[in-house]
């Protein structure tokens, strides 16, 4: 019911490298602390010290184990998830008031708190579950890609990126313009086979996930998995070889 821009000047988004994400939650918590005082302030927490603490988080880490059907080695996956700033964002088109919208200049999907009526249609429409309802204020909130940081001349240059990106200890998060095929993020994604989450939903998400690299087997390849060859048949034989060995200090 709300229109998307025909096209955006930029397609800003994140690259999340699943090869090196260790699931430390730094991005989630740093996002929380920036945004609770930022554009969408506050990100409230209900019963924060009690039985059922729950709050608004724009970024959450899902940790799970993938077990191959053949019984091979399982893989622990730490999967950070926030709004993917889709090109065909169903959360926008479903919005009955025009509150949910995609910015023409950079593609960031935002919610206008003045016109949001808290009907939650957008959260039903989002296949990724990336929207966060603030039941305290009665409006929908979501990742803003730190729109109050990335262009903000009042902040030092190193802060002009989303909080989740600058804080990531493993360096697993990158930020840039996917609309430009020559941008760093476009090239990084292309080089590593970055993929869109659930493409079958046809939302054309902007964010890209980098799959784990093939496990390193440099040495295995070099030796075909063989062990070392002993220099003698017995321990005594090995040690006997060393009797004549002379080194220098």
């Amino acid at each position: 019911m709300t229109a998307l821009p025909a096209q955006t000047q930029k397609k800003l988004g994140l690259v999340i490298d699943l090869d090196i994400c260790v699931g430390c939650h730094a991005c989630a918590v740093n996002c929380k602390e920036w945004n609770t005082g930022g554009h969408s302030a506050p990100l409230p927490d209900n019963d924060p010290y009690g039985a059922d603490a729950s709050g608004v988080w724009f970024n959450r880490i899902h940790s799970f184990e993938v077990v191959p059907e053949d019984g091979g080695d399982s893989r622990m996956v730490h999967f950070p998830k926030s709004c993917l700033h889709c090109e065909d964002a169903p959360c926008v088109t479903v919005c009955p008031t025009g509150a949910s919208y995609k910015r023409e200049e950079d593609g960031i999907v935002l919610v206008n708190p003045d016109t949001c009526i808290g009907c939650k249609l957008c959260s039903w429409a989002c296949p990724y579950g990336a929207r966060e309802y603030d039941d305290d204020a009665g409006i929908m909130k979501k990742c803003t890609l730190c729109v109050d940081r990335i262009y903000n001349e009042t902040l030092p240059a190193d802060m002009r990126v989303p909080a989740c990106v600058s804080t990531c200890p493993a360096g697993a998060r990158s930020f840039g313009d996917f609309g430009d095929p020559d941008s760093d993020v476009s090239k990084l994604s292309a080089a590593r086979g970055g993929y869109a989450l659930m493409p079958e939903q046809n939302c054309k998400p902007v964010n890209r996930y980098l799959p784990p690299r093939p496990r390193k087997t440099v040495a295995e390849e070099a030796m075909g998995g063989a062990g070392l060859t002993p220099v003698a048949d017995s321990s005594a034989g090995v040690m006997a070889r060393w009797l004549d060995k002379i080194l220098s200090l």
């Binding site: 090196i20 302030a41 990335i150 030796m223 080194l247």
Partner: protein, 982 residues
Amino acid sequence: MSGPFTTVQEQVDVTPDAIDRTEYTTCYMCACRCGIRVHFKNDEVRYIDGNPDHPINKGVLCAKGSAGIMNYKSPGRLTKPLKRVGPRGSGEFEEIEWSEAMDLATEWLSDIRKSDPKRLAFFTGRDQSQSLTGWWAGRFGTPNFAAHGGFCSVNMAAGGLYSIGSSFWEFGEPDWERTLYFMMFGVAEDHDSNPIKMGLGHLKSRGEAKFVSVNPVKTGYSAIADEWVGIRPGTDGLFAGALIHELLAAEKIDWDYLARYTNAPWLVIQAPGTADDGLFARDRDGNPLILDGKTKKLVSALEAGGSPVMSGSVDIAGQRAVPAFHLMAKRFLDKSYSPEEAEKSCGVSAETIRRIAAELAHAAFERSIELDVDWTDWAGRKQTKIVGRPVSLHAMRGVSAHSNGFHTCRILHLLQMILGTIDVPGGFRSKPPFPRPVPPGPKPAGHKSEANKPLEGMPLGFPTGPEDLLINPDGTPKRIDKAYSWEHPLAAHGLMQMVIHNAWKGDPYPIDVLFMYMANMGWNSSMNVPGVLHYLTDTNEDGSYKIPKIIYSDAFYSETVPYADLVLPDTTYLERWDCISLLDRPICSAEGPADAIRHPVVPLDRDVRPFQDVLIELGARLKLPGFVTADGSAAYPGGYQDYIANHERAPGIGPLAGWRGEFGTDQGRGAPNQGQLQRYIDNGGFWEDPFTESESWMKHGNKDYLTRAHKMGWIPSTDRIVMQIYSEPLQKFRLAAQGFGPAVPPDRHKDRIETYFDPIPFWYPPFETTATAQDYTLHAITQRPMHMYHSWGGQNAWLRQITNQNRLYLHPDTAATIDAGDEDWVWIISPQGRVKAQIKTMHGVEKGTIWTWNAIGKRKGSWGLKPGAPETEKGFLLNHIIPELLPAQGDGFRYANADPVTGQAAWYDLKVRLEKCTDEEAGETEPMFERFEAPTLAPSAVSADGVLRYGKALHPTPSGKPAAAMAEWIGNQKGHKEGGNQ
């Protein structure tokens, strides 16, 4: 735009004034000590992020650090000094003024000092000011001091410092830029956490290195390893020993490195049954000897130019001697270290062991690195190249917390020495002030503890033989924790975990005051928690407590506070001065020294005081030497900040190394500078002084480095530091057990000393594995989640939303043996007791191992948590069922459940069995301890309606500035990049 509804275009302010000012200080949300920026809006803390210039974290910040606001706003904060009025453990206190609290503490401590100072036991937990607290204890005159290293790090510290003069833990780091093969042993998420995450991200993104994780559990860092080796707990030493076996048999050995930088060629006397057996053959000046293979003469190992042999034997004045290498090789070439034998205990196939050994050899010798670096070796010879063996290892918790951790750590360092990978490009590199001589000085003080007198030095140190033990003539311990006794001779971090037990038992003697700081000994920092709570509350016949007086300082209402008689409330880290000192645990990188400060960035809003201020004032009130001037007035009337700037431990050497000297122009050594702290603040809270390239490598034998290290006061001389594959100090203890030397152990300890003070590292099964009846077939281990490791408190409003209940994790096949599945409740049973837990199955765990997140469980009434908090109803601790003592020996004697060399608490040795709970038993954890009352605690930031809306008042205001151009950021390039891609 078109459609039935069009967007009412929102005017988004992209240049709001979000921040009014920024202060630079140091994080304390864990042990990592990252540089942080604390940003303010309307004089409230708006946001905390990493300081991009800081040597530790280079701008990144973890989940803990990012949740610092909720530490500072915690409703678990103490607000006033407290005096106990109800029984211990009840939580009934009355608030008192600081004047009364200080008078009371002074009175209690003064009585002791005037009579018998050792009746004070002062143990300081997660203390980042040990160079002050240890010095205070020494000035007081009690040997009974340590921090929490006895249950944390001492196996890593001592294992490294007695082998290579450095250590894993935080004392060194892999060369993340160049290493091609990185092996991590066990849980390592606890220390150096951001540097390791940054390093792993970088190492993997280079795309050419292999990362192998050896760990029974595939979590955290293991999840991104190229290869996961799901080993059985406590067998890492055997696994690494088998790798050594393979490397030796194939002669994949860096001979030159071993000859030049280790004691591998030093001759060891082989004269069993004599006082010289196993000691180094020495010349008249005491220098160790080598056999020169060219001249066939014995020459000093410390002279340049010799041509040592590594094998064979030589006759020296009627005694046979062989190179240390020969002895080491003989051990590890033995069949007991073959891959086939290792497989039986480790659960890792012989094939895998052989392959990994081959991969190590390939990386070290086929892919070696050569850097063109002009440097000067220890003998003054100019060198133009550095050869790097790009293999590096790291280990910490998983190895440290086993009763075989000391020797396992030594085996890992031996593996690195054989491959020639220490302090070379691509290898493991020490951070200054390490390496130090092996072992470093000084020796522990505390031989004499006399009324009104200080000790002769610092309570903690490094013995080099039995004569350094703190024992009475009858062989009994002098320290309350029995550190540096025959029970735990190299207990370089003390045994905090045994203090409460021993004080209760009066073994080796009763004490009057137990004084603790930031150590949750009434809960997750103790083994056998039910027992410890009994020791804390047990009374004599007259109704008096067996531990007469307990003083405790903590910023929060932890589970230990209710057991104190006097509570001295501390501040949070944003409200205080601190120094991250080179005299303590360093924050340096291998590229150069660094230190840092904390300074108060927010005002105090309650009646609490920084613990270090309190300690310095107590020192002055007690007139401890050093804490008062000649006329008896306070030496540091300005408190901790005064001490940080003006204290000199040795002439010109103080807590901070930067901007010393009257004008702030000196580094390392120099007179105190009254402007020093301001210089730190102006520089973003830290100081660093990078090494030149010529100082950066082969530090053990690099003249430029050794000269600088000596000048900075890190090492006593510029002599080269020789790494020790063979430890003579250990052999001296073994000789004592055989009846030789100045001090001989009592009979009951002889076999144990002889066995475990082997000068060559060896693997033995963890004690509990052998001591526990065979019914207990499962290993039970713990770790903390990365978002909580080493953080202080379960009260963090944000972090507890991520984890507030721990499950027991186990393999589905293991769960099937008791017919249990996900969400079922089980009893975890050890000989010590049982704990109830809810289970979750996973495949990434060794089948004989169960594990859980540690310290999630909290006691009702603690930390400002509300009734019903899952931490208090479903969260559980394994601590309850870990015994603090080993089973009785034949004579009834019980050793601590600890490493026999270092006294490190062996809480990873736990063996258990499982029983499925009945339906009636499910739903809540056990044991469940009584809720205690809480005094008035600080208000949280939660509104009256129960909702936390932090930041609502911090909403940004318009700046009116134009928008800046957006810039890209590529994570692994650590910052904005102008075009180009990696």
